[in-house]
Symmetry: C2
Subunit: 302 residues, 2 copies
């Protein structure tokens, strides 16, 4: 089960009752954050989720509304006497940016590790997540992310028996380990069926519509995507500031044929995203406006 | 009239329903902030006060909970197309710290000016405020502040008539200007009575009790003071982390004989400051627990 929470839905600046856009994922005891703006740590507390299991933070880019909450979160983690290292992932320059903002949070009791993205698309495996980073199109270097949980094939009892594999080794094989024993050498492919559909969550903010997003989000279980403007006539502004309208975002969701889509990263001038959904639904009816603290548990398909 | 708002009451980390400790003052069209932690800009919006008139921000010190909201506030000001310069005041190292955290808010349409404090006590006049900075005792260099609004003496009509000063010059003299005219040269001291009691607000956080605080706060109209711990048995912790208990703070308020005192900068572990007020009142009965967004208008005495 992958738990996803959209911690906030704001763009540019935090507002009363609207935290900055960030995502938290929980899987198998490990938590991951995408972006950490001013107030993100409060949004986590409000949701009732905890900081301790966070071992990875991915950054889309280094505009303040996506990283300004990092020094505070690091200190809060440090004050809780964290010892486990924390891995930060983000566009090139990550370490320099983080060390610079850490002038106000210099002393921490845990190590920070850095993974800097340099390619158009990069894959990182961590704690059961496959993290795919896709370069998008903003006015600074910016990435969107896929969080993927893979699912192995079924364990085929008949084939295990055909191979004469003793039952005591089945568990190891199911975990993907090769077993070398008196009875012979047994490999997982002898007993495991083809890989099954896993879980995919796609998260893209601060970008113009680019083909990489559609490719990345193809058939995602959940596609969280920026929609900065809902009002008609904002297309030019969206182009100028390298953002998207609700309608541009919805078109990507429709073409990627995602199961469900949440809009986020609303302009401070946009008060009620619900007001624009009628037109959004003409483009893609599985698109809904994200809300602060909205969460979902995504399981493997039956 | 001096408007004072205690924007938040938290120490260490922002919490749901408890912003970090910061103060905003409004006087004569000009606004001043003391400290700017993560979420301070949201607290200002929640209060319904505005960013535009803020022309001065004083920092007590550079721990993240007192400055982590600065990059976000600067960007919000910039997004509103601010052109007027902003003056920052704080302990030595201010410019270096601010330039470092501004890696995530590099482009602003307005100028930032810096005043760095180096003395035990320093006085700065700005926009009708007399700002007094007093070095206190924390685990890094830290200052507390007095905000003082001076009040000139009464205009003495009898003396103006005695000196034969034509009425058309009275207004200039009352404003403190010397008038050189056909009728002669007239100076303010010819017509103005002795300076009257002004307004004094004292703001001290992140410090052990030191004599400078009592001196600074003497007879203040409002004394806002840190009280990190209310629970009994926290005296050692307060000493170790260079903070104060409610009772240590109240003793300063009593000795300084302030008109009113608000506690703030509560430890995250302290849930209900009200619970400890009975014992606080045994020391100083004009001390009350500060609340997020608590504000007061302080006028000149009659």
């Amino acid at each position: 089960m992958l738990d996803i929470c959209l911690l906030g839905t704001g763009g540019m600046m935090p507002l009363p009752k609207r935290w900055l856009t960030a995502l938290m994922a929980r899987f198998n005891g490990s938590s991951l954050l995408i972006d950490c703006g001013e107030g993100t740590q409060i949004a986590i507390k409000e949701k009732g989720w905890t900081f301790k299991p966070i071992d990875t933070i991915c950054f889309t880019h280094y505009h303040a509304d996506h990283i300004s909450g990092l020094p505070g979160l690091l200190l809060t983690m440090g004050n809780a006497d964290r010892k486990e290292s924390l891995t930060l992932i983000g566009p090139k320059g990550l370490q320099k940016v983080v060390e610079s903002v850490r002038v106000i949070a210099p002393e921490l009791p845990f190590e920070i590790k850095y993974i800097e993205l340099t390619e158009q698309m990069q894959t990182i495996e961590r704690k059961g997540y496959i993290i795919e980073a896709y370069k998008v199109k903003h006015n600074v270097i910016c990435y969107g992310y896929n969080l993927i949980i893979k699912r192995t094939g079924k364990f085929l009892v008949d084939r295990a028996n055909e191979h004469g594999i003793p039952q005591k080794y089945w568990n190891q094989l199911q975990k993907g380990n090769t077993v070398t024993a008196e009875e012979g050498t047994f490999t997982p492919d002898m007993v495991m069926g083809p890989e099954r559909k896993g879980i995919k969550v796609s998260y893209f903010t601060d970008t113009r519509p680019v083909p990489a997003i559609e490719t990345a989000a193809q058939n995602a279980d959940l596609f969280i995507c920026e929609g900065m403007y809902g009002e008609k006539g904002k297309e030019a502004k969206a182009k100028e500031y390298k953002h998207m309208t609700f309608y541009e975002a919805a078109r990507i969701g429709a073409r990627a044929d995602v199961k469900e889509m949440w809009l986020t990263h609303y302009s401070p001038s946009l008060i009620r995203p619900e007001d624009y959904m009628k037109d959004v639904h003409k483009i893609f009816d599985r698109c809904i406006p994200g809300k602060d603290g909205k969460s979902v548990e995504i399981g493997f398909e039956d």
